[in-house]
């Protein structure tokens, strides 16, 4: 199977957690085992849009029990006899092969012929940054052998790109260092934030230079964080910034 597989490297590795849990989009070629009337096919596909129940496949990394997943959209791109090309946007952890075989149960059988992932969270196949392993090896060669970093800087993007889909809280310079030491973020350290955050939401905590400090859970809503001067704003779950990048605030 092909398509986009964002890879985080070195100190950025743990950021993949925010991509594992992000929505995905696939283009899939499904082969039906019987000739099906187009109207009936569209009806059944529509049944598999929205909340669906899915039993993870035998060979999967999760416990094998029926679980609910959301198919955000299901668009049939083309029908050619028993071959059906469709695009689906799905919640993380939705098995497309299983989705196809479940559709098949209602239509006299179907299997997945090909699958291509076209979005993984904020990454998509058409954002101009897609690179093959071959491109990566070439870029490395240009960098190491010829001292030309133009390609490697195109292929490898800053870790912050991986939090583009996560709501953000920006903090003051003086609040950075204590977060790097594992302390929670207090209200006075917040410089600005995005609207629409609810208590418990995953947030990215950024410096005013748009560097990621950590990601974690919001301890309150956007409205409260904006107004309050006391209490917790967020708790970090994974810290990315190295200690000592920003100075400790001056003792008063």
């Amino acid at each position: 199977m092909t398509g986009i597989l964002p890879i985080a490297i070195g100190r950025a590795t743990r950021i993949v957690q925010l991509l594992l849990t992000a929505g995905k989009e696939y283009v899939c070629l499904m082969h039906l085992h019987k000739n099906i009337d187009e109207k009936r096919l569209r009806e059944v596909c529509a049944e598999f849009t929205g909340k669906i129940k899915q039993l993870p496949p035998v060979r999967s990394s999760v416990k094998r029990q029926l679980r609910e997943r959301t198919v955000y959209y299901f668009e049939i791109i083309e029908i050619n006899g028993k071959d059906v090309l469709f695009r689906a946007g799905t919640q993380a952890g939705t098995y497309i092969r299983k989705l196809v075989s479940d559709i098949g149960i209602k239509l006299g059988g179907a299997h997945m012929v090909e699958l291509r992932r076209t979005k993984a969270g904020p990454f998509s196949e058409d954002d101009g940054t897609l690179a093959t392993l071959h491109d990566l090896a070439d870029a490395w060669h240009y960098y190491k052998s010829e001292g030309n970093d133009k390609y490697i800087r195109h292929v490898i993007q800053p870790v912050e790109r991986a939090v583009a889909h996560i709501p953000k809280i920006w903090i003051t310079d003086s609040a950075v260092e204590s977060l790097c030491h594992g302390a929670p973020l207090h209200m006075p350290g917040v410089a600005k934030l995005e609207s629409g955050i609810s208590k418990g939401d995953t947030v990215a905590i950024m410096t005013l230079k748009d560097e990621i400090v950590a990601y974690g859970k919001a301890a309150d809503s956007s409205e409260k964080i904006l107004k309050d001067e006391k209490g917790l704003a967020a708790k970090a779950e994974a810290v990315f910034m190295k200690e000592g990048t920003y100075p400790r605030p001056n003792p008063r």
């Binding site: 092909t2 070195g10 992000a22 990566l136 917040v190 600005k192 995005e194 629409g196 230079k209």
Partner: protein, 92 residues
């Protein structure tokens, strides 16, 4: 069928479908109008040195058929001579 397979790459259909986060419209709420950041510390992500980027970056990798997601990840790690790498969910 060959035609269909080819069209898996982009194709000529316009994709107007959006994932939930792509539909969210967030605005920035300013709590401290006077907050500024010093140039003495930190570095804007786009200005990061190449050697730092290589050990602290993300690749939008096009996985080709054949190797597993795990194998592809370890190839990328080896190419860049970094100690760790991780992928964003298997694609088998």
């Amino acid at each position: 069928m060959e035609k269909l397979t080819l069209r898996m790459r982009g194709g000529d259909s316009v994709n107007e479908n959006l994932l939930p986060f792509e539909k969210e419209k967030r605005s920035v709420l300013v709590k401290r109008k006077d907050a500024i950041t010093s140039d003495k510390h930190g570095c804007r992500p786009e200005d990061r040195k190449t050697e730092d980027l290589i050990n602290y970056g993300i690749i939008n990798l096009e996985k080709q058929a054949g190797p597993t997601s795990h194998q592809v990840t370890s190839y990328a790690r080896d190419i860049l001579h970094v100690k760790k790498a991780g992928h964003s969910g298997t694609l088998e």
